[in-house]
Amino acid sequence: MKHSIQRQLTFSLAMLLVVVGLVLAQAGLWIVDRGLRQHMQDNLQTQAESLLAALIKGPDGIELNSRHHDAVFLKPFSGHYFIIEFNQQRWRSRSLWDFELPEVQAMGFSEQLRPGPEQQQLLIYQGQYRRYKTDIKVTVAHDYSPVLISFQQAQIIGGGLGILALLLTLLLQWRLVRRALQPLEQARVQIEQLQLGQRSQLEQDAPVELQPLVQQVNRLLLHTEDTLQRSRKGLGNLGHALKTPLAVLMSLLRREELQKQPELLALIQEQLQQIEQRIQRELTRARLSGDALPGAFFECGQELPGLFQLMNRVHGDVLTLSWQAAANLRLPYERDDILEMLGNLLDNACKWADSRVELGIEQVGTDYCVRVDDDGPGIEESQRQQVQKRGSRLDEQSAGHGLGLGIVRDIVETLGGTLQLLDSPLGGLRVEIQLPARL
């Protein structure tokens, strides 16, 4: 998958939120846990001391004043337990019932939770006191599992809330980023349109950050178009400079002095013709813009009538010319390139046709298909290869369909398309050209 700013922002934010959220939640729980245990510890100590205070000296020695200790010690497995040990005597709270508290060696508060009855988790405090000249060891235990359970609940609720908050944040962030990146998206769409030939410039009213980019692209487009026009003009001038003297030479061939020397005349004529064809082909090739201008396009409905008017001027007396294309069909190529291609194709077809030439342009999927049919003699299967051959030399194909199609092939190659010679339903040759969509 390609790199996307939007995706990258969303992903990194999500990671950040998850990590920070987890750390914060865990730290919070840990702090609360610590505080609670501290509080319990104080409680347990107080309880131990109040138990000690409840010991009174009775007639049979030391006894526990039951009024002085809590009822919670009477209910079995209430979660509050004690053991009082002195002089081989061992008093257990009734709440312990048949459960034996785990043995704890160290005095004071035991850090670890000890297993109690009925899956209880016990915090245990053990104190060594001396009263009535007797060493008394008081062990108090308290069930911590309700707290643990509520912690677990808090974790589940907190986790759920966290995920919800995360999703909400991501959604908001996605929308915010999308909004912030809107101009970039617009630029992307515009560049796509540029490639498709639906526009020739990018919109100027981009945000400040994008201004230099948009301006630069527009300037480059203008510059390319300008350069192309200039080089075309230059080539036009060069052509003019070369072709006019050629025209003079060709008219000089009519002079009587030369007419008397037919061999010489034929030789000069042939050479002049070669020069002419070479100039024609190379100039045409050099003038092609190819895909230098992404914003250029050829509008069928607008250009074809003019082209056919021109073709009719030359061939209309003898031939019926017709074209078929959707009125709003646009080819994403430069006008001059397409005109040159169609002009040469039609001219070639007209040279060979007996009575009819038909042009059809249509969009096939994303590609464009151009067909020119004539009802002339067509080309033999074996000779088609010759005409289509890449880079076959000009003088080898000066006869017949060769030259016109040679120029057409140059153009089609520059545009990245393919050319095929087929049998036409009209009886002659069909030239079919596939042009790819430019993207």
């Binding site: 036009g236 002419e276 003019g306 001059d336």
Partner: protein, 224 residues
């Protein structure tokens, strides 16, 4: 037929002038675009051959000026600019035909003949045919009822003009304007002599005289 040739290459213009004159056209030659814009607008040419790369004013602008001034003289563009987009631009500017350099002179002459015929309503004809007469412009011979009749250069020029303007009354000065270039002295007596020669060869009623107005080619009573 009087033509204007606008071409800045002297050698080519010389050859073309000579060739066109041989074919019986009266030719005026100009090399500058500004002169052409003016002269094409005031002189009654039957056809203009226009180069596009001209000093002073480009051929396309000259053409645009003529068309803007409602001058409908047929214009054949003769240029080295051979791309199809340029041809279409030329056509849109108002050109009637477009020939690219280099070219064979015969091609140009055929296009000129065809354009003249077309502009006078003789479409789809390889030879000029009117009132039972067929004119072979290459050999300067007229076919009448299966017979070939030889013509002198002056007779050929006159007959061609008559045939293209069949049924119209043409004054002597009009004929002189269209048959001679700007530099030839126009003598109306010479015209009368040629008209009489044509009548002798083709039949007396072929050309009517309308006293005080001029001549009218009817083609009636063609006789060998």
């Amino acid at each position: 037929m009087r033509l204007l040739l606008v071409e800045d290459n002297v050698a080519l213009a010389d050859e073309l002038c000579a060739g066109l004159q041989q074919l019986g056209y009266a030719v005026d030659w100009l090399a500058d675009g500004r002169d052409a814009a003016y002269q094409g607008a005031v002189e009654p040419y039957d056809l203009i051959i226009l180069d596009l790369g001209l000093p002073g004013l480009s051929g396309l602008e000259v053409l645009a000026q003529w068309r803007a001034a409602a001058i409908s003289t047929p214009v054949l563009i003769l240029t080295a600019r051979s791309t199809w987009s340029e041809r279409i631009d030329g056509l849109k500017a108002g050109a009637d035909d477009y020939l690219t350099k280099p070219f064979h002179q015969e091609e140009l002459y055929l296009r000129v003949q065809a354009l003249l015929r077309r502009s006078h309503g003789f479409a789809n004809q390889n030879h000029l045919q009117a009132a039972g007469l067929g004119l072979d412009e290459a050999r300067q011979i007229v076919h009448s009822q299966g017979q070939e009749i030889e013509l002198t250069g002056a007779e050929f020029r006159l007959l061609r003009y008559f045939m293209l303007h069949q049924g119209q009354i043409l004054s002597k000065s009009h004929l002189a304007e269209h048959l001679y270039d700007g530099e030839t002295e126009r003598d109306s007596n010479v015209l009368e002599v040629h008209v009489n020669h044509l009548r002798r060869k083709l039949g007396r009623t072929v050309i009517e005289t309308h006293r005080g107005q001029g001549y009218r080619f009817t083609g009636a009573g063609v006789q060998p």
